[in-house]
């Protein structure tokens, strides 16, 4: 986080990751065979597998994964609660770096990356593209400071559902410090549109552990509401309620098949990127497995 330039920061993360990835057991993100499907009139004859036809005298369409055309949307929470940080950097800075890293990474792969920042309203929206200069524009938007007083994830999710018709990947980067009543519903709607969903929850270590010791007036950074809190007395209750909230988020993610990872801001970003990729891989495996079953069933 010592590097001020977000793009540079992202590049360093990604390149460092590239180096490590060579030794990774997961490799190969090329054009990949997906499945065979029987030809039906109207299919593009270009995709006919002539070799198979030669062998079996049947028309098969060879399907490939729509890999290069991945559209990824980064949903970044830009509310004021994200400006909190007990370390040298804030949650927002961490989240922006994460978003920039992912964008840079995907851009290098040739994928289209879009951005949507939100607080209690939607602040910035950048459609997913893969043009030269797009990444630069995205970085500029990410560098805007957090301003909003509240957090309304639902508005952002609804907007994505409305705007993005094509299937894609939706990455939600937020501290998720909001009530969860309608989060599940909106995420489910998003999943139902065929999007893959990855949830990154960015949290400060003091939020995770509640590492305060002095009793004082605690002020909500968003609502400016104050409460007199004695941490010694309140810690146990806080952790209990925090864990319950976290568990609820995990449950929601499990229900809709999203991958969920909680990132403390003290963690290196590479691990976050690793989590992202692992989630992608798992997803891919899962979909491939289900695709094979479908094929056999036919």
């Amino acid at each position: 986080m010592a590097i001020k330039n977000l793009e540079l920061r992202a590049r360093i993360v990604v390149e460092g990751f590239w180096k490590g990835i060579h030794r990774s057991p997961y490799h190969g993100f090329s054009v990949e065979f997906s499945e065979y499907r029987q030809y039906t009139p109207g299919d593009d004859p270009r995709y006919l597998d002539w070799r198979l036809y030669a062998r079996s005298d049947r028309y098969y369409i060879k399907k490939f994964e729509d890999e290069t055309n991945l559209r990824c949307f980064l949903l970044v929470d830009n509310s004021r609660s994200m400006t909190y940080g007990s370390l040298a950097w804030t949650k927002a800075q961490y989240a922006h770096t994460l978003a920039a890293t992912l964008a840079y990474f995907l851009n290098r792969q040739g994928d289209a990356v879009g951005l949507l920042t939100f607080d209690e309203i939607i602040r910035e929206y950048l459609p997913a593209r893969n043009r030269p200069g797009h990444l630069r524009q995205l970085m500029l938007l990410l560098e805007k400071p957090a301003a909003g007083a509240g957090t309304d994830i639902n508005a952002a999710l609804n907007r994505i559902v409305d705007v993005v018709r094509r299937r894609g990947l939706v990455v939600l980067i937020s501290d998720l410090l909001t009530p969860l009543e309608s989060l599940e519903k909106n995420l489910r709607a998003l999943a139902a549109s065929g999007h893959d969903i990855i949830l990154f929850r960015v949290l400060d270590p003091s939020e995770l552990k509640f590492t305060f010791d002095k009793a004082s007036l605690f002020e909500d950074v968003e609502s400016r509401r104050g409460l007199y809190i004695d941490p010694e007395a309140a810690r146990r209750d806080y952790l209990k309620r925090f864990d319950a909230h976290n568990a609820a988020v995990q449950t929601i993610a499990d229900k809709i098949g999203a991958s969920y990872s909680q990132l403390g801001t003290e963690r290196p970003l590479e691990t976050a990127l690793f989590d992202f990729l692992r989630a992608r891989m798992e997803r891919r495996k899962r979909s491939r497995r289900s695709g094979a079953i479908v094929t056999r069933g036919e």
Partner: protein, 674 residues
């Protein structure tokens, strides 16, 4: 030690605060910014887990400062035995004047009165002297101061209370004026007869315990010079429900009404009454009650059909007080009176005296006068020509229609022929010199009625009264001739038989129009009735009495036994002690409550003050003034002692010590903390 403003002592409760502050963990005003309070609940300031106080000395100093301030503000002073608190000199003299009139029968007035009187006696010191007087329409000494003085000191109070027990409300009216004067007399007599007290003036007090009703009579107080050093303390008793209405018989003495005429009843509502609707009914009658509406402070007249029997009881329903709601009525039987007239005259001849005489004696409900020629009638009139030799009537009135009537006088009085002539020198004569001391003219003695100058006498006969022995001229004409002469007739004198005395009244003129205007004047009928009375004809009995009224001799003659409404025989002097229908022999008579007693609205004490009564403060006002005096003395003592200054100084000293100590503690704490 006492306090002038003890409420400030409550400020000492503030020492709880430093104790609490010492117990509470030190809190800061630091703010901690946090991302979200959604997982946090407010935690109250926590009291130290160790129930041990830190910095005991500091705490004690702070508490001491607060205590000293609180005590200082409460303005303490040291009580010194005050000289005024202990009574000095001789005791006072008190006359307790208790109202026992009928209005004291209302609600709980009598228990209240007894309670107040008891309080007065209880409050008396050993040197005090007291007497008790009860009063209604007259004062009655229940306990004389002499008796009090004679009794042993410890027994005096018991004696007074025992005498108080003997009192009870009567049915009589209230004469407050005479009662106050009697109380003054009682005190003054003691002042004369008592042991001399040369050094100090003895305080004298009349404690008046009464309902102070408007119907109290205050006559006698006007112009009375009250002795110095005497005060009247009025303990006015009050009722919770003041509504009171009363009924009175109006024109009970009306002599012109027919026997079966309706009764006129007056319904009076007290001025402080809360009710306005009342009902009247004859007790025992089946008729529906008569309803009436009387606003407070006003009265209404009602025409009421008479009772079925000759006597009855009329009841008023609808007010709060029952004591004056009954009106007893006894009908008066009509008396038959015979008056003789001797003369050769036609009854309807308007030119003759008989015509006017008959009309002069009107038939009334209570008496009926018959003009006869019976010689035994107590009163007889003779016009000039009658033969007077047979007359034995006690009173004979001779109307001289002509000078010839002198012969009749001579015959009646057995005298030689009297000289008499017609007076002709003036056109008319007036009555000049009238002897108003004579019973016949006594009713006219009042200047309002004594004007006889409107009666013109056209003719009269000049008769010299000197000719008749023992003659007394009762009235003369303006030129000096006698108009009316009275001559006593001794038994056996003249034609009179032995043993029967009588009198002769000679009127030297007549009342018929030819002689005078007398028959047409307003004096004629009263004069006739005066004559009836003078002839000792028994007046018709008036059978309506008020409580306490003396019964007439006809009833109170000792021969008739008087029974009350229950038929129990009672002593004559007790006959009018309570309202009701009594019977004297077979004759019923009614006794009613005095009309004034129904005026139960309370009178303003100012009225007494206007009459010069030296009103002192009531017991309640005395208590208040005593409390005020004590407060004043306390303020004075506090002002002299000024203990608060020392307390404030002490508080400042403690405060300095606290500041010093706190500074040291803080310095030590900051030195030890990293």
């Amino acid at each position: 030690m006492s306090f002038l403003a003890p409420l400030f002592l409550a400020g000492a409760a503030a020492i709880v605060l430093p104790i609490l502050f010492h117990l509470i963990r030190k809190t800061t005003h630091e703010k901690t910014i946090f991302s979200s309070l959604m997982f946090l609940l407010p935690t109250p300031p926590k009291v130290t887990r160790r129930s041990r106080l830190d910095q005991i000395l500091l705490l004690l100093l702070r508490c001491a400062v607060l205590c000293l301030l609180a005590v200082g503000f409460a303005r303490p002073y040291l009580v010194r035995p005050s000289a005024a608190a202990t009574p000095r000199g001789p005791g006072k003299k008190v006359i307790v004047l208790v109202d026992t009139s009928a209005s004291m029968r209302r609600e709980n007035l009598w228990p209240q009165a007894r309670e107040r009187a008891t309080e007065v006696f209880q409050a008396l010191g050993p040197a005090d002297e007291a007497g008790l007087i009860g009063f209604d329409d007259s004062p009655k000494q229940i306990l004389a101061i002499e008796e009090w003085r004679r009794a042993a000191i410890p027994e005096r109070r018991a004696l007074a209370l025992a005498r108080l027990e003997t009192l009870s409300p009567s049915w009589r009216g209230t004469h407050l004026g005479s009662a106050l004067l009697a109380a003054v007399d009682a005190l003054e007599e003691v002042g004369l007869a008592g042991t001399p007290r040369p050094t100090l003036e003895v305080r004298r007090e009349i404690v008046l315990i009464t309902d102070l009703q408007q119907g109290s009579r205050l006559d006698g107080l006007q112009g009375f010079e009250w002795p110095k050093g005497l005060t009247v303390r009025v303990e006015a008793l009050k009722v919770r429900r003041p509504s009171n209405a009363a009924i009175q018989l109006v024109e009970a003495r009306d002599e012109t009404a027919a026997a079966d005429a309706t009764r006129r009843i007056r319904v009076i509502n007290s001025s402080d009454s809360k009710k306005e609707q009342f009902k009247l009914t004859w007790v025992g009658a089946t008729n529906a009650p008569v309803e009436t509406y009387v606003p407070p402070g006003q009265s209404r007249m009602l025409q009421f059909p008479p009772a079925i029997s000759a006597h009855g009881q009329l009841a008023l329903i609808g007010d709060d007080e029952d004591f004056d709601n009954h009106l007893y009525w006894a009908g008066t039987p009509q008396a038959q009176i015979n008056v003789a007239y001797f003369g050769s005259e036609a009854e309807n001849d308007t030119a003759r005296p008989l015509f006017y005489l008959k009309r002069g004696f009107q038939q009334t409900a209570r008496q009926s006068v018959q003009i006869t020629n019976v010689t035994s009638a107590p009163l007889c009139f003779i016009s000039d020509t009658a033969d007077a030799t047979q007359l034995t009537n006690p009173t004979i009135v001779l109307v001289m229609k002509s000078a010839a009537a002198a012969t009749t006088i001579s015959k009646l009085l057995n005298l030689p022929q009297l000289s008499c002539e017609e007076a002709t020198d003036q056109k008319y004569s007036l009555l000049g010199d009238i002897d108003f001391t004579h019973p016949l003219f006594k009713p006219f003695a009042d200047p309002r009625f004594s004007d006889f100058t409107k009666i013109h006498f056209w003719k009269h006969r000049r008769l010299d009264a000197q000719q008749i022995p023992n003659a007394r001229v009762l009235a003369r004409f303006d030129q000096g001739d006698p108009a009316l002469i009275e001559v006593p007739i001794a038994p056996g004198e003249g034609t009179r038989p032995t043993g029967r005395a009588g009198r002769l009244l000679i009127l030297t003129s007549g009342w018929h129009p030819a002689d005078s205007q007398l028959a047409l004047s307003s004096k004629f009928v009263p004069l006739l009735y005066s004559l009836l009375e003078y002839s000792s004809i028994q007046r018709p009995l008036h059978l309506q009495f008020e409580v306490g009224e003396t019964l007439p001799a006809e009833i109170q003659n000792g021969e008739l036994k008087i029974k009350n409404s229950e038929g129990v025989e009672i002593a004559t002097d007790k006959a009018t002690d309570a309202p009701g229908i009594y019977a004297a022999g077979a004759l019923p008579f009614a006794v009613n409550l005095g009309g004034l007693e129904s005026k139960t609205a309370p009178m303003a004490i100012d009225e007494l003050q206007q009459l010069g009564v030296p009103i002192g403060a009531s017991s309640r006002a005395q208590t208040i003034s005593r409390a005020r005096e004590q407060k004043f003395q306390a303020a004075e003592a506090e002002n002299q002692q000024k203990l608060w200054r020392w307390l404030i100084l002490g508080a400042l000293a403690f405060l300095l010590a606290e500041t010093f100590l706190a500074g040291r503690v803080t310095a030590r704490a900051s030195a030890t903390s990293p």
